[in-house]
Symmetry: C2
Subunit: 339 residues, 2 copies
């Protein structure tokens, strides 16, 4: 068990004051290069390791940033996290990542834990069923930067980072229409989440623009869990108008839908064309491969990180509730091929 060595040990050995040691280690300007070098050398030699708790206690700053995401296991989320991690690490921050597992209760718990851990900032992508936002008010009250990513909610003094889901939804739908679809279905998650309600708005706008009628049978709200695929199939079967195009706001669910529709004897894309959302790796793997909307989680992560860091550095702040919008892109594959 290597005994831990402190700045006092260093000070004693080098015959300087603890203050000088501390300043040297932190590259303080008013220390001579010579002593700085001596201190650093000795510190390395002895395997000195700064005690973050003492430092944090003294500085009242933790240098950690909290993140709450619905789940870790999507390509989008994990690349986003990689992006965030890269930026904040380079800026000397650590990340505490937690998953809400799509549950508001868990999200509340996570928020509380992160608050108790005194994170310097919080990044959140909301859970499926989050309907109240009180668990974020402590952060706002304590002026801890709060940034929502992708699945956002407009809270005062917080920032949001999104794509133009409405436009993307419009484009996906327009693509189906271009390919000859007349009776469209939108399958999305909770309308409470902007990502789903906005994509739906885009869907509806596209229908209106192309003079296609819309009624309640053209939308299905689902939890997008693979176990709920039966509901979707039933909805499609029961529909009076023969559905020939489906916009699913989530690639994984879209992939399951394809698989199951084929099993039911439908031809994709001949009978029904399908477009997903996210450009998840699975969209390339299903047969037929899935058309989708692509947007970069990594880029979103990088931007989120940068945004938060510059806020923490006092360069900008979220007072003037700001929103960053990233670009997206339609990717055409087999599942929407015209005959």
């Amino acid at each position: 068990m290597g005994k831990k060595i402190t700045i006092y040990d260093l000070a004693k050995i080098l015959k300087v004051s603890p203050g000088t040691v501390s300043r040297s280690l932190n590259d303080h300007p008013s220390i001579s290069q010579k002593t700085k070098a001596r201190v650093v050398a000795k510190a390395n030699e002895l395997g000195y390791k700064t005690n973050k708790f003492a430092a944090n206690l003294s500085k009242q700053k933790t240098n950690t940033i909290g993140v709450i995401v619905p789940r870790l296991n999507s390509n989008f989320m994990s690349t986003m996290l990689a992006g965030i991690e890269k930026v904040v690490n380079e800026a000397g921050y650590n990340l505490i990542i937690s998953q809400s597992l799509e549950s508001m209760e868990k999200e509340k718990l996570n928020a509380k834990t992160l608050f108790n851990n005194s994170v310097d900032a919080l990044l959140v992508s909301l859970a499926y069923d989050t309907s109240s936002y009180d668990h974020f008010t402590p952060f706002i009250h304590h002026e801890i930067p709060l940034l929502f990513l992708d699945r956002v909610h407009n809270l005062p003094n917080s920032a949001t980072l999104i794509i133009d889901n409405k436009l993307a939804g419009y484009e996906a739908t327009e693509h189906l229409i271009d390919q000859g679809c007349k009776n469209l279905l939108y399958v999305g998650g909770s309308q409470r989440r902007n990502v789903y309600s906005d994509r739906f708005k885009g869907f509806k706008n596209a229908l209106a623009n192309y003079n296609l009628e819309f009624d309640e049978s053209n939308i299905l709200e689902s939890d997008l869990n693979p176990t709920s695929i039966g509901e979707a199939i039933n909805h499609i079967k029961r529909s009076t108008k023969q559905i020939d195009g489906i916009f699913v706001a989530n690639d994984t669910f879209a992939a399951h839908l394809i698989k199951n529709l084929i099993r039911e004897g439908h031809k994709i894309p001949e009978d029904i064309k399908i477009i997903g959302f996210n450009n998840d790796p699975v969209s390339e793997l299903v047969t037929p491969s899935l058309s989708t909307i692509d947007y970069s989680g990594y880029e979103m992560g990088i931007l989120a990180g940068q945004s938060v860091i510059s806020h923490l550095n006092g360069n900008i702040n979220f007072k003037s509730a700001n929103t960053i919008t990233l670009r997206h892109q339609l990717i055409i594959r087999e599942s929407t091929q015209k005959q």
Copy 2:
């Protein structure tokens, strides 16, 4: 900005000593129920929040556990993390999760960061190309519990949590043989990683047991990255004996392989049968659906958490280098269907 209230504030208000407040808050036995109740009530009323840094500094314990995984975006990893998180949270610990992105350099950095953050324990699933293990020795020297998960390495005073990859590999291969395959190919990742070398050993044993000859053309070492699928296809094409069964040690790569083999005109499972590993959700989605070996990341996470916690509580320890082995299960789907 809500001012932070400390035990001193509480002490002054309640006219007791800070020590009493501290003990009350920590449910120390030698404090009367009455004062305990008073203190706790006041603390809640005033929204007291313990300063972890002061506590940690004083206790020399951080109550955080570090985790390094190769990537976050696999179903296996994220469910494993969910399992770990559940257990350690219940025990009052926090998790710092980091991803090595399959790079040893990043893994080293992560280890260093976590060490500097004074995690109380470290859980690791090794990166693809990790070949030296010196970055873990600081943990061992400082007697910080070190537990390897799934992708393990035998280091003194550390524990490992695995499945019987050799047996699982044997069973997967045996299944292919049962289904009539004669010329088998094993596609795995770096032999440096136990998960791949052990599965390969099982493969080889099965061949030997069934008197099927083995030479170097029966094994392909790949980075299992979808972009490397071309190599695999070439290997299969160039093989002198016509390959009729493939055991791929990774579902995602297996799925890509299926897709590409079909594109090349092969019939799956008629011409070539394929079995994967992990029971990733994609194995159900690909056409034909993929036979595979299932094992529970969640369970592995739970066990890892419990193991580390009980170590931390001094109940057991890793001195007697222990290994926990979980069960696994063969899942038969379309990709290995006999004609």
